[in-house]
Amino acid sequence: MTPTIAILLIITFVLSTVGLLLLIWSIANNQFSHGQAAARTIFSPGEEGHSEDPARPADQPFTGDTSEQAAAIKARWTADQSSRTAVLTWLSSSVFWLLLGSLFGLTSSIKMHLPEFLAASEFLTFGRVRPVHLNAVTYGWASMAGIGVALFLIPRLFKTSLAGGKYAVLGGFIWNIGLVLGLSAITLGLSDGEEWLEFPWQVDVLFVVGGAMCAIPLLLTAANRQVEHLYVTSWYLMAALVWFPILFLIANLPYTFPGASGATVNWWFAHNVLGLWVTPIGIGIAYYMIPKILGKPIISYQLSLIGFWSLALFYSQVGIHHLIGGPIPTWLVTLSIVHSVMMSIPVITVAINHHGTMIGNFGRLKDSPTLRFVWIGALMYTVSSLQGSMEALRSINVITHFTHYTVGHAHLGMYAFLSFILFGAVYFIMPRLTNWEWPWRRLISLHFWLVSIGILIYVVSLTVGGWKQGLALLDAEMPFMDIVRMTLPALQARTVGGALMTLGHLVFAFHFIAMLMRRGTATEQPTLFRPVVKENAQ
């Protein structure tokens, strides 16, 4: 057994690194011909250097007058119309689950320092409210919004209409039914018992089917595509939609993995939901939105390639760093630690691409809601991922494991990174689907500041409180109850932060509904953070 494991272990690491080195070698030798000519076909003549922001007079030369430019606009419009019903189905659902999920999150946060709050009812006990929060925001908000944005981007990326959009609509209904049943099951005490996998496996079937329904339009549209060159966003979206069903299916196989090996499968899955499902969606959206708003290309195709394939090679094997020090073979934990640190390769390459593209354009953050949300999200991806690599080291993990620090980290990733990018994407997409502008720019501002200040308080308080808690837990001289008392201020601050975020979501949801109902006044100008209409008046 022992030598076999050692050999397999070496093979895994060697395969991953050799894969990466091969990729670098082939890039160096121009094996992936970038094909400037191919890229030109995506670019409509005269469009290059044009910008989304109408406040800048310099960006006005694109007039759409030539027939080619008119055709490009028409193509975008056709693409957006074809995905309209499907995207609105998924996005509207996601906003509902965001509200529900954040109310449950706030409730569980309050319960952490006021234990008698709503304690009399078994349906609202902390141990049920918390998993309802997690599952509602992960599978309801993040996954549904992510799929919604993906459905919007697919026809645009492939320069064609979305084929089979009705399957995606049907998939959305099945997914929603799954959420209702799954969250009810948790409330009734019928949880499967493993974190991130609480839904009973009978309900999980609905998610597999609902997700597969979204793969149909992806495959049909890819087959119909009008471009040869695939833009980096589409790599991430395609990979994510391949990965999620495999992961979800294996991890939920009922009665297969007992005891400690069940724990490895549990955390292999739980981290892959982050790494191979919501992360590629978030990165992919940022890869689209940043150059889209700026009107300039992402700086390096080569870095995109390394970033994508190294994410696949390394992120898929990091999950066991959740079990450092646990009853899990050392070799397995070591494998995950090494790969967690190797994760800094995709993170740094993606960071260079995202932030490098931003250089010289930071002033645009003052105007564009989409850019501000998406870029902060991209920045938080860099921060939370590097933090995650650090946390995987045994010397750091021995302190942070089992503490509120990890909860802060999780929200930095799932919220400050992913949710911010999704907010930005929703602000971009909705005007194109409803043919209406966001009614009130001040509500966007309010939403931004509420959630930003909220998540800042949240992460800072739990990071500091959790670190102190972790140090104290290692020191047996400190009685356990003293540690509990010591963490109380952090838990209370978390409730403040969480309340601000929930308020922000109420504002966002209200604005979203107003947008669907076409409230406010008709305008030709986009709704930006600053009132640019006057400056731009002719």
Binding site: M1, T2, I5, I10, F13, I24, Q36, A39, I42, F43, S44, E47, E48, H50, S51, E52, P54, G64, I73, K74, R76, L157, V232, Y287, Y288, P291, K292, I293, L294, G295, P297, I298, S300, Y301, Q302, L303, S304, I306, I324, G325, G326, P327, I328, P329, T330, L332, V333, T334, V338, V341, M342, S344, I345, T349, R394, P431, R432, N435, A476, P479
Partner: protein, 223 residues
């Protein structure tokens, strides 16, 4: 084409594409560093135990540290002073040292009898002012070593409950230390208890089950 209908699509920038900037040298250098580090980290783990779990060391089963396991049978108490010291949570386990009664009390007893020795009214009897605790040493030793069940009157109140046995969990020295501590705290003023008293008790009663208040009175007399 109606410009108004397409205005959002009209004003936006073209579909994004990628530039062709080469991979920065520093990224390649970082990749090289990480690969070297990864190989080194694996190498560092060579020879670590493969069974038992992550980061397991032989310290885990060092003498006197195997916890309650080595006092499952009564004769294990020969290693008094060290055996089972871990179960006390006192962290006082070095061989030969006198166990810290206060620490053992805090870890083993205070959950029920509370840190101030007042117990929980109606549920767990007080130790402060308890006539049973401050009686002849044989009685508290019997209660803690073998456990107690059934109705009992303590300091004027009647309690109905179960006191678990600590005979298999605490060594003679630890048992004596924690009793000595309780007999001199919270206004109590009874004599210290010697580990030998515990050993005597064991010799006399062997591996006996729970006591009841009646049996205690029968064997040792009124407290």
């Amino acid at each position: 084409m109606n410009q108004h209908d397409h205005r959002a699509q009209y004003r936006e920038a073209p579909e994004p594409e990628e530039g062709t900037r080469a991979i920065p040298k520093i990224v390649l250098a970082w990749i090289a560093i990480l690969i070297v580090w990864g190989v080194g980290y694996y190498a560092w783990q060579i020879g670590k135990p493969l069974l038992g779990g992550d980061s397991r060391t032989a310290v885990a089963m060092a003498p006197g540290e195997s916890g309650p396991a080595n006092s499952e049978s009564p004769d294990a108490s020969e290693g008094s002073g060290t055996s089972g010291s871990q179960s006390s949570g006192a962290g006082s386990g070095s061989a030969g040292a006198t166990p810290d009664g206060a620490a053992i009390y805090s870890a083993q007893c205070s959950a029920c009898h509370q840190a101030n020795g007042q117990g929980v009214p109606g549920a767990f009897p007080p130790l402060a002012g308890s006539e049973w605790l401050q009686a002849d040493a044989a009685i508290p030793v019997a209660i803690v070593h073998d456990g107690l069940q059934g109705e009992i009157e303590v300091a004027g109140n009647t309690f109905q409950g179960v006191m678990p046995r600590f005979g298999g969990k605490l060594s003679d020295a630890e048992l004596a230390a924690v009793l000595s501590y309780a007999r001199s705290e919270w206004g109590n003023s009874a004599s210290e208890i010697d580990p030998a008293t515990v050993a005597e008790h064991k010799e006399r009663f062997g591996d006996r089950g729970d006591w009841s208040a009646g049996e205690l009175k029968e064997v040792f007399g009124e407290p």
